[in-house]
């Protein structure tokens, strides 16, 4: 089985794929694409793979994926025998997962864009992105509040799914875009829970938790 991810280290969308692959212990190759400053994702060789000119691109056993959500579904379906990350046996939950996958695109379109603007000076409509980002984070906070009321820690149940993975990056990265998490206590708890999972993977802007280093420290 060969899996190749055309990757950019600062991209939250590429990170979704790396994160899930890591959580599920899936081996894959990466090809670094010079998104910034080189705009290589819009060069002819890359456009041949993905005419949309976006990253990530995943080539799995010869099949080319250009939508992150499809990559997450494929990875989970192939590599999670427990069917907990992509809960195909539960219609209600499965639909909820797809609902949150759709929501994750709204996070990219708002927080993701604002982040590129604050970090790389891309031109965007700041007001509408900020407004959209706030609507998204409030919705997420309210949903997590309701989940807590019914005793569930994750977006769609008591186990994390690819919905949590898809919504995590841009929510966690919002401070890069100037949107702090101070107003969103439930989001903070959810981010912390995700960062505490075994095989969690960091990216620039999302530091390691470091909480477990105490054993190292106590020995010295």
């Amino acid at each position: 089985m060969s899996i190749t991810l055309y990757n950019y280290v600062l991209s939250g969308n590429c990170y979704k794929v790396r994160l899930l692959a890591n959580l599920l212990n899936i081996k894959y190759e990466t090809v670094a694409i010079d998104f910034h400053p080189g705009k290589e994702h819009q060069s002819e060789p890359l456009l041949k793979l993905n005419p949309a000119g976006t990253l990530p691109i995943l080539v799995a056993n010869g099949q080319v994926f250009t939508e992150t959500q499809a990559m997450l579904v494929w990875l989970a379906q192939q590599h999670d025998p427990s069917c907990s990350w992509w809960p195909i046996n539960n219609a209600n939950q499965l639909a909820a997962v797809v609902q949150w996958l759709g929501f994750s695109s709204r996070l990219s379109a708002t927080i993701g864009e604002l982040r590129l603007h604050s970090m790389l000076n891309n031109t965007i409509n700041i007001d509408s992105a900020q407004h959209g980002a706030k609507i998204c984070l409030r919705e997420l906070e309210s949903h997590l509040t309701e989940q807590r009321i019914i005793g569930q820690q994750w977006l769609t149940g008591d186990q994390p799914t690819i919905a949590d993975v898809a919504c995590f990056p841009y929510t966690a990265l919002s401070p890069d875009a100037g949107i702090e998490h101070d107003e969103y206590p439930l989001i903070r708890g959810w981010l912390h829970a995700l960062r505490s999972l075994d095989n969690f993977l960091t990216m620039p802007g999302i530091h390691e938790l470091h909480e477990l280093g105490s054993t190292i420290r106590d020995k010295t």
Binding site: Y8, P37, G38, L120, N121, P204, G205, H207, I216, K219
Partner: protein, 281 residues
Amino acid sequence: MTGLEHAQKYWYPVAMLGELNDGQTKNTQLLGTEISVCGSNEESVTVSSAGQLLAVQCQYDHVWTTFSDDPYPLFAIPEAEEPGRRFVPCGVVRVSCSPLRAVENFLDIAHFPFVHTGVLGAEPHTEVYKYDVQIDEKHDEVFATNIRFFQPQASKSAEGSIETEYIYRVPAPMAAILYKTCPPKPEAMDVITLFVQPIDEETCDVWPWMALYDDTSTMADLIQFQQLIFVQDRSILENQLPRKLPIDPGHEIPTKADLTSIAYRRWLKKRGAYYGALEKI
């Protein structure tokens, strides 16, 4: 002379040569002033501010400009002439912090295990051993030597963890250069620089640039390695308080590991480099 007047006497990077595009004007800011960069190459590039042309020079893959008629010369990087090195401009990253805080962070090694975990440092290897800092009188630069640090992945070309040696130079208030162990060529050192374009006292555009011996990594790999490191720093830099750098002792508590930062702050104070500093003169 105010901090601003002092800062106006230096050269600053304002664009990457590779991003110049015929017919396209890049509008940006320098020291709180709007400027425009036009032209398509080294020969044709101009920089102007309020209709006035500013002095321009192209060095180290970047376009540099100054507001002064009699600026301090742009610092030399002799390694930029060495055949066999690969020169890697890494693009720009905007950070909401004082340009001086960005430089000071670049001179710091004690944060490696916590901010660049698993790459430039890792617990339990956190100790900063004694090193030396001087002012190089001839060039009037801060110069730190004999720095050694344990690194899990010192560079794209490193295979496994090594003890890395570092040398730092601060040739201008808003630029820093480091030399570090070059895994594929032990007799030489890799060069990594941080060129800072001060947008204003609390915002900067940072242009990392490298001159490496590495014949195997792709350009995209090299750039991303550096961007990964720098963007890990960004979330720290945007959360330091106060946003401006305190250069008088007393506001913050340094230790022996911070000798370079202490020397840098003193050196800034001595030359009146108060732009981006908490104190005013």
